[in-house]
């Protein structure tokens, strides 16, 4: 067990050192969150290609998971397929292109790239599976 001072210093260092990277991510997040939401409905439809487009749009988007559900609901009303909606929601939550610099700096570049690529592919796979079962 460490001393009180040592533990406090160590925890403070671990939280404060990545602060510039986290703030950089936050700046980008705010720019992406302010993009017009009708951008998504223009691109996502009810064809297999839409599943890939939806996964791409979900990957580059950022924000609360709640926003992805609301946007997904909006996409469903506009006639988007369940495969595309599922891929969009999953990519939104699991792929973090905006957060990638922070992830790479702290967990390693290779890990960040592999994790995001695999998450992106899984979003399409789950989307297509849901298209089969719920479409």
């Amino acid at each position: 067990m460490k001393s009180l001072k040592s533990a406090t210093m160590s925890a403070a260092r671990a939280v404060l050192k990545p602060l510039p990277i986290i703030l950089t991510v936050v700046l980008f997040l705010s720019l992406i969150s302010a993009l017009p939401k009708d951008l998504y409905t223009k691109w996502i439809g009810n064809d297999p290609l839409s599943t890939v487009i939806a996964a791409v749009l979900g990957s580059v988007s950022a924000g609360n998971a709640m926003t992805s559900y609301i946007l997904g609901g909006g996409l469903a009303k506009n006639g988007a397929g369940i495969a595309a909606i599922t891929a969009f929601i999953i990519a939104w939550i699991t792929v973090g292109i905006v957060q990638m610099p922070a992830e790479a700096a702290l967990l390693g570049k290779r890990f960040a790239v592999y994790r995001n690529v695999v998450s992106f592919l899984f979003a399409i796979v789950i989307g297509l599976l849901f298209g089969v079962f719920f479409g």
Binding site: A14, K17, T24, S30, L31, S33, G73, A76, F130, F134
Partner: protein, 219 residues
């Protein structure tokens, strides 16, 4: 100055310098300003100062200012989003700090590595996925803690990937998901995310080279 005076002044100066050095090192204490500077440097830059993240932040900040300058209506919306995100960050930030402090104070990394080693296999997969489901706050706030678990407690990257993937399951937002997509879809999506969190961990473990796996645990 006569030669004899010169020879007298040199030892005097030397004595003065020595005296001031002795004063500085009384009780092994450093002057307060230097200590504070060292503390701040150590907290924000670490043991080996790296300024690159600060340069990246500065460039991004200038880019941000440029966006606000050239697209004022979009910029004002982005600023309101920025304020919202920063406000939402405060509590997760405090939570992560407390969690890291608790880990630092009560947990010995070697002991934790041993615990992980004892738990390896399906128990650790389940723990990683459950921890991901119940974890709160933005994903990037968890990176420092995960980095320490990887480096100090030798936690395998596969478990970290499973934890991060399982964060897609949002229990508090489950009613909203049901409201938009119904019970069957919501339950199926949750189940699929749990299963694929495990798959993600396995695939990442397979892809990562041995040297970057945190290979002492679960190997």
């Amino acid at each position: 100055m006569p030669e004899d005076e010169k020879t007298h002044t040199r030892p005097l100066k030397a004595n003065k310098e020595q005296g001031s050095k002795q004063k500085k090192s009384i009780g092994g204490r450093k002057p307060p300003n230097k200590g504070l500077k060292q503390l701040i440097t150590s907290l924000f830059l670490g043991e080996e100062p790296d300024y690159r993240p600060y340069y990246i932040f500065a460039v991004t900040f200038l880019f941000y200012i440029g966006i606000i300058w050239f697209f004022p209506s979009y910029g004002s919306l982005a600023i309101s989003k920025l304020v919202f995100i920063l406000k939402a960050l405060v509590w997760p930030f405090v939570f992560i700090f407390v969690l890291m402090w608790l880990v630092d104070f009560f947990v010995d990394p070697k002991q934790l590595a041993q615990t992980f080693k004892a738990m390896r296999g399906w128990k650790l997969w389940i723990l990683s996925i459950l921890a991901g489901i119940i974890s709160t706050g933005p994903i990037y706030m968890w990176y420092p803690l995960l980095a320490r678990l990887k480096d100090e407690a030798k936690l395998r990257t596969g478990y970290i990937a499973a934890f991060l993937y399982a964060r897609a399951i949002k229990i508090p937002l489950f009613p909203l998901l049901i409201l938009y997509f119904g019970w069957a879809y919501s339950l199926a999506l949750t189940g699929a995310l749990m299963v694929f969190a495990f798959f993600e961990g396995v695939v990442i473990d397979w892809l990562m080279p041995e040297t970057e796996k945190g290979h002492e645990v679960g190997a």
